[in-house]
Amino acid sequence: MAQPLNYLKESASQTAGPYVHIGLAPGAAGFDIYRTQLGEDIAGPDAPGERIRVEGVVLDGTGAPVKDVLLEVWQADAAGIYPHAEDPRVADCAPGFRGWGRVITDFDTGLWSFDTVKPGPVTGRNGRMMAPHVSFWLVARGINIGLNTRMYFEDEDNSADPVLNLVEQAPRRETLLARKVSPGLYRFDIRLQGEDETVFLDI
């Protein structure tokens, strides 16, 4: 027997269930309780950059929209800076920029959307630049542990992105690209399963 390492183990995940909104977005559950709902304003009013809206649906393996999904997004500002102490450029992050959003669906259609500024490129590992992207985390009834993925933009140069290039089957990289619908509006559908299953990340 060797010495015990004595690390703790991460708590096991359990599904967020169908009533996740009570805890994370009570207004959507149908009642008013907190002074503030968190995650409604990602960029703030003063952050520079292109103002965009992103919309989409999450589809299950049968092609039906997942109407009770809850998404959270995390992104850098238009200069590629995260509002977090470990970003070396944090002092230059846009004023009022939060970078984090909590996104809920229309319970009838499953459609979701959020408003933000388009992020800038972010320095990745070993100095390789990552193309502009938004990190996603989604939970719902039937999802045992939150799913991570990234959204890139089809109208940016993604050719050298170190994460997209890790996807072995090149056509699957398309599942991570938001489509430009019109100026300032992007569409990003997430497919949990089946044809064109979105690439999910173990981060």
Binding site: Y7, L8, K9, E10, S11, A12, S13, Q14, T15, A16, G17, P18, Y19, V20, I22, G23, L24, P26, A29, G30, F31, I33, Y34, L38, D60, G61, D68, W74, A76, H84, E86, D87, P88, R98, W100, V122, T123, G124, R125, N126, M130, S135, R141, G142, I143, N144, I145, L147, N148, R150, V163, V167, L192, Q193, E197, V199, F200, L201, D202, I203
Partner: protein, 240 residues
């Protein structure tokens, strides 16, 4: 030493996506392998929260929605620490909880269970951990309730818990169960967790030392988020 990457998530400890006895996971589980990423700036950062975002009463579910009096049910304190896998408390991190009322009914427009709504119970709370990672809530013990899976499935009494940590890669939602509940080991959602030790880690013991005599009982629930390496040797995470 600078903190570096997070320890890889143990996917043999965490529930897999596809768990057919929990039927809803069947159409909602990815079938292709996930792409494993080494942490970059996008993963080791994450949102932070402060006391300007929440109010002191937000952690008191007995009072934060009370209209005509206290809610019905067994009064309890739920307390513990948010720790990382190195055993260090995680300070100033947001903990959000939600639960059914004492009769097993949620205040949600989609819940139609026949047990009544409690007019004095909202069923959600939130707080920030202190500088040692401690948190506490006051609430009533939630009731068990039936759900559509097999025809006679019941959820054990549970409280949903959402935690952030310091980075987007630590984000976690789990559920807290109560010591001694015979429904725990009959539940297909609990059984999505493959390792019985990981299930035990989600069962809060009765904590009589934290109970308030003649007022309320207490349960203790520690939550562990992923730990991270220290940079014993430079690994150029930020690449400069």
């Amino acid at each position: 030493m600078k903190p570096a990457e997070f320890y890889q998530r143990d996917r043999t400890w965490q529930p897999p996506a596809l768990t057919p006895d929990y039927k809803t996971s069947v159409p909602r589980s990815p079938r292709l392998a996930m792409l494993s990423l080494q942490g970059s700036m996008s993963e080791i950062t994450g949102p932070t929260f402060g006391h300007s975002h929440i109010d002191p009463i937000d952690n008191d579910l007995i009072r934060n929605y009370a209209k005509t009096g206290d809610p019905v049910g067994e009064r309890i304190i739920v307390h513990g620490r948010v720790l990382d896998e190195n055993g260090r408390g995680i300070p100033n991190t947001l903990v959000e909880i939600w639960q059914a009322n004492a009769g097993g009914r949620y205040r949600h427009k989609k819940d139609t269970y026949l047990a009544p709504i409690d007019p004095n119970f909202g069923g959600c709370g939130r707080t920030l951990t202190d500088d040692q990672g401690h948190y506490y809530f006051r609430t009533v013990k939630p009731g068990a309730y039936p759900w559509r899976n097999w025809v006679n499935n019941w959820r054990p009494a549970h409280i949903h818990v959402s935690v952030f940590g310091t980075s987007f890669s630590q984000r976690l939602i789990t559920q807290m169960y109560f010591e001694g509940d015979p429904l725990i080991h009959k539940c297909p959602i609990v059984a999505t967790i493959p390792d019985p030790r990981a299930i035990d880690q989600l069962i809060a013991p009765l904590d009589m030392n934290a109970a308030i005599p003649l007022d309320c009982l207490a349960y203790k629930f520690d939550i562990v988020l992923r730990g991270r390496r220290s940079t014993l040797f430079e690994n150029r995470l930020e690449g400069n």
